[in-house]
């Protein structure tokens, strides 16, 4: 239960700091640590208790309490996008462990009204949702970010304008080197550069799922699945935000966006994934 301790340890600063805590001039994002801790914890519980997976009190209660607590804290920051993506990853892990889809579907239905209340109660979330429906309704106000982002992606063309030659990053785009870095990549390296990035995430998804399926034990399989989904889902959401396919959310592009703790935790996660993949090679070699 070391993981549980770690989770509690990391959960505390979330309340005090909003999203970041400063340590020696560097911003640390506790939710990045919490995400990985939640995935490791879920994989552990699922391995131990998967033989009675459909007894909700036995298998899901610990996961629900810990993950629910973490998500609640992340929600308080507030960081809606991270909460939702973490819940999606955990849901997929539980489903992969053989949990009946009826329960998951029911839980989803129950969550919908809550989701609606959360969305509508915070003013900025409601505005973002309306902006998403029609960015051009208010091109200089709420729609500004997404329109600037689309301009960046569009003007890049196939080959891009060349490195350092982009214009949109010069104070048009919000957060050009964190959340909207994909827009800058599209503008400066064009369709080709953007495709390379997307392709890299596809490769991570493919090899990650392969690792998960060939993992020597259940813990490794669930852990690999969770980590892969965490990386790929976030990339998917981030790129969708940049392209205006989903409402604006503050999700960075994993491994690419500027940000110390997220970079560090994502690389750590890839390390774990690589570690699991080694054992699979060995297993097949021995067999």
């Amino acid at each position: 239960m070391v993981v549980l301790l770690i989770a509690v340890l990391f959960a505390r600063p979330i309340n005090n700091a909003r999203r970041w805590i400063g340590i020696g001039g560097f911003g640390i994002q506790p939710s990045e640590l919490a995400k990985l801790a939640a995935i490791i914890f879920t994989a552990l519980v699922l391995e131990r208790r998967r033989h009675r997976i459909n007894e909700v009190g036995y298998s899901l209660l610990p996961i629900g309490v810990i993950v629910g607590g973490l998500v609640g804290l992340i929600m308080l920051e507030p960081d809606f996008g991270t909460s939702v993506s973490l819940l999606a990853v955990i849901g997929a892990m539980v489903f992969a462990a053989g949990f009946s889809y009826r329960y998951l579907f029911g839980a989803l239905l129950l969550a919908l009204p809550a989701l609606y209340v959360i969305l509508m109660q915070a003013d900025y979330r409601r505005r973002r949702l309306l902006t998403f429906m029609d960015p051009w309704a208010d091109p200089l106000g709420d729609g500004f970010q997404i329109i600037q982002s689309l301009i960046a992606v569009g003007t890049g063309g196939v080959f891009g304008k060349g490195l350092m030659a982009g214009v949109q990053k010069l104070f048009y785009l919000p957060e050009p080197f964190t959340d909207f870095i994909f827009a800058v990549i599209s503008e400066e390296t064009g369709l080709i550069g953007a495709s390379v990035v997307v392709l890299c995430f596809c490769v991570i998804g493919w090899r990650g799922l392969r690792t998960s399926m060939r993992a020597p034990d259940a813990f490794g399989a669930y852990l690999a699945l969770g980590i892969t989904l965490m990386l790929v889902l976030q990339a998917f959401f981030n790129i969708s935000v940049v392209l205006g396919l989903v409402p604006t959310k503050g999700i960075p592009l994993p491994l690419v966006s500027n940000g110390g703790s997220s970079m560090l935790m994502n690389l750590l996660a890839v390390g774990v994934l690589l570690n699991i993949s080694q054992h699979q090679q060995m297993e097949t070699g021995a067999a």
Partner: protein, 66 residues
Amino acid sequence: MARKLSSDKWLFVATLVLLCTSVVMVYSASALVALERYQQPYLFVTRQLMWACLGVAVLSIVMRID
């Protein structure tokens, strides 16, 4: 450490490609903002590079422990 462990090459290469993209693009995207706000064009990219190196170090350690 006599046994030879082979980890997933594809995964490793894809991660490294993203990392390199990251450093280049963060520099390209942040240089002028950093110059404007902090008078140091290399501020964000040096930090990013530091974290990337630290991250790769952590990655290689995590890869080797069981």
